[in-house]
């Protein structure tokens, strides 16, 4: 029960994980995208033999290298935290989380020790072809590394391909392919890597704009803007498409999170998508939680229904329907789910008692139930609800979810506009004359970072209170350690990562100022 949990410990453990994940994600997306941009540039060099393209490739490769090196191993801290702060979770997930992370670790090790070395040490030492292949392998490998992390994260959002074993108190993988091709994993992977491509394109565009503003490096700047403009535009369209796909998947597997994105409390057919809106408090409540109303909104009529179900007649459930249930739409209330979750927990108590009393037959009988599909579908899938005292506990922070979602979407459309304008100005040969646009491009470098981070805030805060959707809330996952030790390491991480970030930015700015000649 929540009464037995030190919420300060849960909050600090969450805050620490958020801090380390947010910092880690400052380094990752540039690696994902810039590796491909560098590979494209090197391919042009390979085909053309032009020394200018070689210079360009090496310049962007330098910036890639700085980011890659500073970011390397920052994600390992998250794994430390699992073992220390989230031990119940780490044990409960068993090999499902461990297998993808192990594959990622091995892949990253071989990638980094071989092909990244060829990328940086191999110029004029290996053949041009082998060097090019290595650069492409780094790009593909870095993105495949991300795949395994996202597969692990997607399993937390939509746990599939496993059964729970009461004897070990762990989940055991029964289908690797179900875990890998989890529909959340597929959409999350595509959405995440394409957002990395977009970020890197904006980075290249912004720095090239800086050179044009300083009236230097014209060849590099214009060719880089061409590559970044095309790659960025395609990536931002892919981000929009995969974002739409992700939303459709979420509406099925995490409907409360989806309703929170839109601050939709009362479900309906012909539901509109809020394009812009401002929330305000209201007198209405769900249990003890306040309901947010709209002070202002502009809606695209019927679009939410079309987005989720393909037509305007699709019923999109609101938070009220999902918490209190809606019999006419076949939606079970949280109270009913709590009852089912508690039955599972009672069974686990019986199992423990049977084992303690050496009643092997009873223990085996209960253990077998956890492998029965009907029991899993009707009861075990609601196990996590047993930890809640009140139905409204399942509602995430609606304001954070709503604003994060809408800011991310608005930024997405802004990026499309910037890349289109870059290509138009480049085509017309007026890029250097439109200094306002060059300034906009330079200042926009930070915006994809903002969009990426709020995307993660949205994904992770939107799914609260769950650490594993429907199976384990964060309150049950946390280790019984002192919150003081978590606060200490929180501060240590904040200092460490800030130093790393300052180091990266200062080395990068120095190299950018020096330009490709150095």
């Amino acid at each position: 029960m929540f009464e037995n949990v030190d919420l300060t410990l849960v909050d600090w453990s969450r805050a620490q994980f958020a801090l380390t994940a947010i910092y880690h994600w400052l380094f990752v997306p540039l690696t994902l995208g810039l590796s491909f941009i560098v590979a494209i540039m090197e391919t042009i060099y390979f085909k053309s033999g032009s020394e200018e393209w070689k210079r360009m490739t090496r310049f962007w490769m330098t910036l890639f290298g700085i980011n890659f090196a500073i970011g390397v191993a920052t994600g390992i801290i998250l794994e430390f935290e699992f073992g220390t702060n989230w031990s119940n979770y780490s044990w409960f997930v068993g090999d499902i989380f461990g297998a993808p992370l192990a594959i990622e670790g091995i892949l990253a090790f071989f990638l980094e020790s071989t092909f990244v070395a060829v990328m940086f040490f191999g110029w004029n030492k290996v053949s041009k072809k082998f060097h090019l292949v290595s650069t492409w392998l780094v790009a593909v490998g870095a993105n495949l590394s991300a795949l395994w992390i996202l597969v692990a994260n997607a399993w937390m959002q939509n746990p599939v391909g496993m059964v729970f074993n009461p004897e070990t108190a762990r989940n055991e993988m029964v289908s690797f392919w179900q875990v890998l091709f989890n529909e959340v994993a597929v959409s999350k992977f595509l959405h995440t890597i394409s957002s990395g491509f977009l970020l890197a394109s904006m980075f290249v565009l912004g720095i090239s704009a800086y050179y044009l503003l300083r009236k230097r490096e014209y060849f590099l700047a214009k060719r880089s803007i061409l590559i970044a403009g095309i790659f960025g535009l395609l990536s931002s369209l892919l981000v929009a498409y995969t974002g739409d796909t992700s939303a459709r998947v979420l509406s099925k597997v995490q409907p409360v999170k989806f309703a929170a994105f839109e601050a939709l409390y009362d479900g309906k057919q012909d539901a509109g998508l809020v394009a812009i809106g401002i929330l305000k408090g209201s007198d209405r409540k769900i249990g003890e939680k306040e309901v947010n109303d709209f002070a202002f909104r502009i809606e695209i009529p019927g679009f939410l229904s079309v987005m989720t179900g393909g037509d305007r007649n699709t019923f999109v459930p609101g938070i009220n329907d999902l918490v209190n249930g809606n019999a006419s739409q076949g939606i079970m209330s949280v109270s009913d789910k709590i009852v089912r979750g508690k039955k599972v927990r009672d069974l686990l108590s019986d199992y423990k008692a049977a084992r303690a009393g050496n009643d092997r037959q009873k223990a085996d009988g209960i253990s077998g139930m956890f492998r029965d599909k009907k029991f899993i579908d009707d009861y075990f899938r609601y196990f996590g609800y047993a930890f809640f005292g009140k139905p409204e506990d399942v509602v995430p922070n609606v304001k954070v979810s709503f604003y994060s979602f809408h800011l991310m979407v608005m930024l997405g459309f802004y990026f499309i506009l910037v890349f289109v304008l870059a290509l138009i100005f480049l085509y017309r040969g007026t890029l250097h004359k439109n200094r306002w646009f060059l300034w906009v491009s330079l200042c926009s470098i930070l915006l994809p970072y903002v969009a990426g981070e709020i995307g993660w805030v949205l994904a992770e805060i939107g799914r609260q209170p769950w650490i594993i959707q429907n199976l384990m809330p964060v309150s049950a996952a946390v280790s019984q350690i002192s919150s003081g030790s978590v606060i200490t390491t929180f501060i240590l991480f904040a200092v460490l990562f800030t130093v790393l970030l300052i180091a990266e930015i200062s080395i990068m700015i120095r190299q950018i100022k020096l330009g490709p000649k150095h």
């Binding site: 330098t62 191993a73 220390t84 009461p166 049950a476 460490l496």
Partner: protein, 74 residues
């Protein structure tokens, strides 16, 4: 056997030359990488991030028992 030794020698020279002729930024980031790895693995992991279950229990059965208790009692 000779070809293996030659290959190993070339591999060693490849990395050796790479590290010794490294640019200013390369040297800086390597210093940062080494300091970072030291802080992560020799300070944070050893002193601040013990494996909670590993520290409390020595066998998997004990760990299972503990987590099962947590799942039932929380």
């Amino acid at each position: 056997m000779n070809s293996v030794i030659t290959a190993m020698n070339r591999l060693f020279r490849f990395y050796y030359d790479g590290f010794t002729t490294m640019s200013w930024w390369g040297k800086r980031v390597w210093i940062i990488i080494l300091i970072k790895l030291f802080v992560l693995f020799f300070i944070l992991k050893l002193f601040f991030f013990p494996d909670f279950l590993q520290k409390k229990y020595s066998t998997d059965e004990q760990k299972s028992e503990y987590v099962l208790d947590q799942l039932i009692s929380k």
